[in-house]
């Protein structure tokens, strides 16, 4: 798993070790992005306007509070090359987008991060329910999102072949906003029908990535158990505890593994705490520390982390050599949870759209 295997140690001891690793990793990443030889043009320019030197003053993770909050507008300014670290200037560059239903989408460059993230995530999957060599169906947002390539890579990393269907969530959002619900459902049926055709044709498809709504739509038409699906990896939109229970017990008939995930193009993906009946289906995510962190902060004072069990806004920090994103206030909120056996650092539970926005976000629709 990500970096939790200090065998025999208590959770507290492992949490302390994880914190030390995070501090060390933070320093390395800051040094990398602010080094004139390897660094990222955006951050080098940013540093030139500071009256302090990040390479000297960032000595641990908490020191990242010295930066301003990361503004997503910075990713919409049309200068995508300014985000490519000089060290990677000659590598093939992907750009993945998030948002974009209206206006300019946020673009994040990628080289290998999506592969690394999903290879690490692969280690959390059971070989029994996501069999090695089993083929996958990717029935979710495609196009400029990283999810399509990432799931395909996850499948390939596990020895499978990934079948994909096109799906444009921006069109779905547009249909919803203009109350064209009939067209929205026709489009959903169009996507689901293609997925079913693939499932019927390719008997070795044993694993599925899809969104909550598309999972419901698939299971309305067929029994995925009868179709030989063994594991479902689900994400892309909000996933409530009640949906979690409904999916496990009813849609998947208690016979298919269900792995919810929370992630985005900017951070990567967080892992779901292994299913424990004691959590009452609460969906609890832990970030892929030290490559990224999710903290639950006071919306009115976002430098301050809320107490365990309290609701706050999700604050993301990404720390990879490809992308440095300190203190980004996400459009989600959730409950701060304690470290667990598998992940000895804080998690976030019951993630939903941030309630502090004046205008509700169109979400959870595809």
């Amino acid at each position: 798993m990500f970096m939790n295997s200090v065998s025999g140690a208590s959770i507290d001891e492992r949490a302390t070790a994880a914190k030390a690793a995070l501090d060390k990793h933070t320093c390395e990443i800051v040094a990398w992005h602010f080094d004139p030889a390897t660094g990222t043009p955006f951050w080098l320019d940013y540093a030139s306007k500071l009256n302090w030197d990040p390479r000297k003053e960032i000595k641990c993770y908490n020191d990242l509070d010295k930066f301003d909050f990361f503004e997503d507008e910075w990713l919409r300014q049309g200068k995508v090359r300014s985000w490519v670290p000089k060290a990677y200037a000659n590598d093939p560059i992907y750009t993945f987008e998030t948002g974009g239903s209206t206006g300019v989408p946020k673009s994040r460059i990628n080289i290998k991060d999506f592969r690394i993230d999903y290879e690490l995530f692969s280690d959390t999957l059971s070989d029994k329910t996501f069999p090695r060599g089993g083929d996958w169906l990717m029935l979710g947002p495609s196009g400029p999102r990283r999810l399509r390539l990432a799931v395909e890579h996850l499948c390939q990393h596990r020895g499978g072949i990934c079948f994909c269907v096109d799906m444009d969530p921006r069109w779905v959002v547009k249909l919803i906003k203009s109350s064209r619900l009939r067209e929205m459902h026709e489009y959903k049926d169009h996507v689901v029908n293609q997925g079913l055709t693939l499932l019927r044709a390719h008997k070795n498809i044993q694993c599925l990535f899809t969104t909550p709504k598309l999972l419901e739509a698939l299971c309305e038409r067929v029994s995925l158990v009868d179709y030989g699906i063994k594991g479902v990896f689900c994400g892309g939109t909000q996933l409530t505890a009640q949906f979690h229970r409904f999916a496990r017990a009813e849609l998947l008939e208690g016979k298919i593994d269900f792995v919810p995930t929370y992630g985005n193009t900017l951070m990567g993906l967080a892992c779901h705490k292994p299913f424990d009946p004691a959590d009452n289906y609460s969906v609890i995510y832990h970030p892929p520390s030290p490559r990224a962190m999710i903290e639950v902060v006071d919306p009115d004072s976002p430098r301050k982390v809320v107490g365990y069990g309290e609701v706050g806004r999700a604050r993301l920090t990404t720390l990879t050599k490809e992308f440095f994103m300190p203190r980004f206030l996400e459009r989600d909120e959730g409950i701060r949870t304690k470290p667990c056996e598998a992940y000895p650092w804080d998690g976030i539970a019951d993630v939903r759209p941030f309630s502090g926005f004046a205008t509700p976000i169109v979400e959870g629709v595809y």
Binding site: S179, L181, H185, P212, K213, E216, C219, E220, T240, A241, Q242, F243, R245, F246, E250, L251, N280, Y281, G364
Partner: protein, 473 residues
């Protein structure tokens, strides 16, 4: 705390997600309502046995409905894991909606009356059809072959919280053999839940009834999945479904009292019917008048009606003299008040009730907010307050030449037209703007339950088919 479960195929189901309802007066948590996820609503609806009521004759179902009406008014019935007497139901209903206890009882009586007189209700909806045709599928009793089939296999309803009396509108669906799936209003799960339990106790099969408190997405799935449905809501809620023939819409009523040219000078005789049309049932129903149209004397009419309505004062819901509903969420009352105050800043309108009230429209008792009656005299029918409907006793008064009224009033659920002029009455009768037409001194709220209301439930649920029958030799 009282817990109200989902009823899936009539059986209680507890969700992980609940909504807490508060006591309108104290703000204390009062009940937890279990919430269905939208996928559950659709999954259950497509699995519902749509023929679950076909094993009963219509006559049997009418008798069972009659029994359900009596049980609704008197029996102790299940409420989740607990039991609920009629008096407890009334108290609980008042607690979360803020409706005066007296109105809660009146509305319960309306529901029971419809259930107990279901034969008359169906006679009105079917225009006296021999209901045996619904059991046999055809009839040739009058020498003409008649055949009907059930187009509405599963009937859904997205219900409101404003007035419990509206639940009498969907009740005939059960007797017309359509299994029901109900999404209650947020603050008013009590009435539909109790009706389902009364139906079950009277012998209706539980599997023919679903009760799904849910969010906007769940309501959308219900409307998408139902073969036929009823939707209650404001203009923005019903608008997306305006062209969907499967769905009977119950939006704002914009009901009106209209004076003909021949009676306008005698307006003082009609102040009582105008006032009661506005204030009955706390002014919360779509069948309450929200405007008075007259060829002349508008200012004087507004003043007289305003004086009458100003007698209503904010009182606690359990006060036997209470006539105004409290807003369980005070912010809603404040928003409505702000909308009216803002519109009054535009020239040409005056809340003439204000002088008679002597107090602001918005009143508070403890944490509760109340909106006291308002009658707004509008110099022009184009004024923003001339055609509005709010959740309290509110009406505008506008002047309009009688010959223009039919075209000018816009969609009107109930029009009470006071006139002796037959040609004026006919102009209203012929106009598609009016859904329910009362000609005479009849309050807008006086409903004859054997008449269709915003559509005909029988026509929604059944289709006539061409049918010929020759027994095999």
């Amino acid at each position: 705390m009282i817990e109200i479960p989902i009823l899936r195929f009539g059986k209680p189901y507890e969700s992980i997600e609940t909504v807490t309802l508060v006591h309108h007066a104290t703000g204390e948590p009062f009940a937890k309502v279990h919430q269905a996820n939208s996928g559950m609503v659709r999954r259950d609806m497509v699995r519902m046995a749509d023929d679950a009521l076909e094993k009963f004759s219509t006559a049997d179902l009418i008798a069972m409905a009659r029994k359900a009406g009596k049980l609704f008014m008197s029996a102790t019935l299940p409420l989740g894991k607990s039991q609920q007497s009629f008096d407890e139901y009334i108290a609980q209903l008042s607690c979360t909606t803020g409706m005066p206890i007296t109105y809660c009882r009146d509305n319960a009586g309306k529901i029971a009356s419809v259930l107990e007189k279901m034969d008359q209700v169906l006679a009105g909806l079917t225009r006296g059809l021999d209901l045996k045709v619904l059991d046999d599928g055809y009839s040739d009793a009058s020498g003409h072959m008649l055949s009907f089939y059930r187009a509405g296999r599963v009937f859904g309803a997205v219900l409101p919280s404003n007035s419990p009396g509206v639940h009498s509108l969907w009740a005939p669906a059960m007797v017309l053999k359509a299994p029901i799936v109900l999404k209650p209003g947020r603050e008013e799960p009590w009435t539909p839940y109790r009706m389902i339990e009364a139906f079950a106790a009277a012998g209706f099969p539980r599997e023919a009834m679903g009760f799904y408190p849910t969010d906007h997405g769940g309501a959308g799935e219900l409307l998408r999945t139902a073969d036929r449905a009823m939707l209650f809501g404001g203009g923005a809620t019903v608008r997306p479904y305006e062209n969907d023939p499967r769905i009977e819409l119950h939006g704002p009523g914009y009901s009106k009292v209209i004076l003909g040219d021949d009676v306008a000078d005698d307006w003082a005789k009609y102040v009582e019917v105008m006032a009661t049309s506005i204030d009955r049932n706390g002014g919360r129903s779509c069948i309450n008048a929200s405007a008075i149209w007259t060829p002349r004397h508008g200012r004087a009419i507004a003043d007289a009606v305003g004086k009458e309505l100003a007698k209503h004062k904010a009182l606690p819901a359990d006060d036997p003299n209470a006539t105004l509903a409290a807003f369980a969420n005070p912010a809603v009352a404040e928003q409505i008040n702000n909308v009216i105050e803002h519109a009054l800043t535009e020239d040409g309108a005056e809340d003439v009730c204000a002088t008679h009230r002597g107090t602001p429209r918005l009143a508070h008792i403890g944490r509760c907010a109340y909106l006291q009656p308002s009658v707004v005299w509008c110099e022009s029918r184009e004024h923003p307050l001339a055609n509005r409907e709010f959740l309290f006793p509110y009406a505008s008064v506008v002047e309009c030449p009688a010959g223009e009224i039919a075209d000018a009033i816009g969609p009107t659920l109930v029009a009470t037209v006071i006139t002796r002029d037959e040609s004026f009455a006919h102009s209203m009768m012929n106009h598609p703007n009016v859904d329910r037409l009362n000609v005479g001194v009849i309050p807008t709220w006086r409903i004859s339950w054997d008449q269709p209301h915003e559509g005909n439930l029988f026509e929604l649920l059944y289709r006539q088919r061409s049918f010929q029958f020759e027994p095999a030799a």
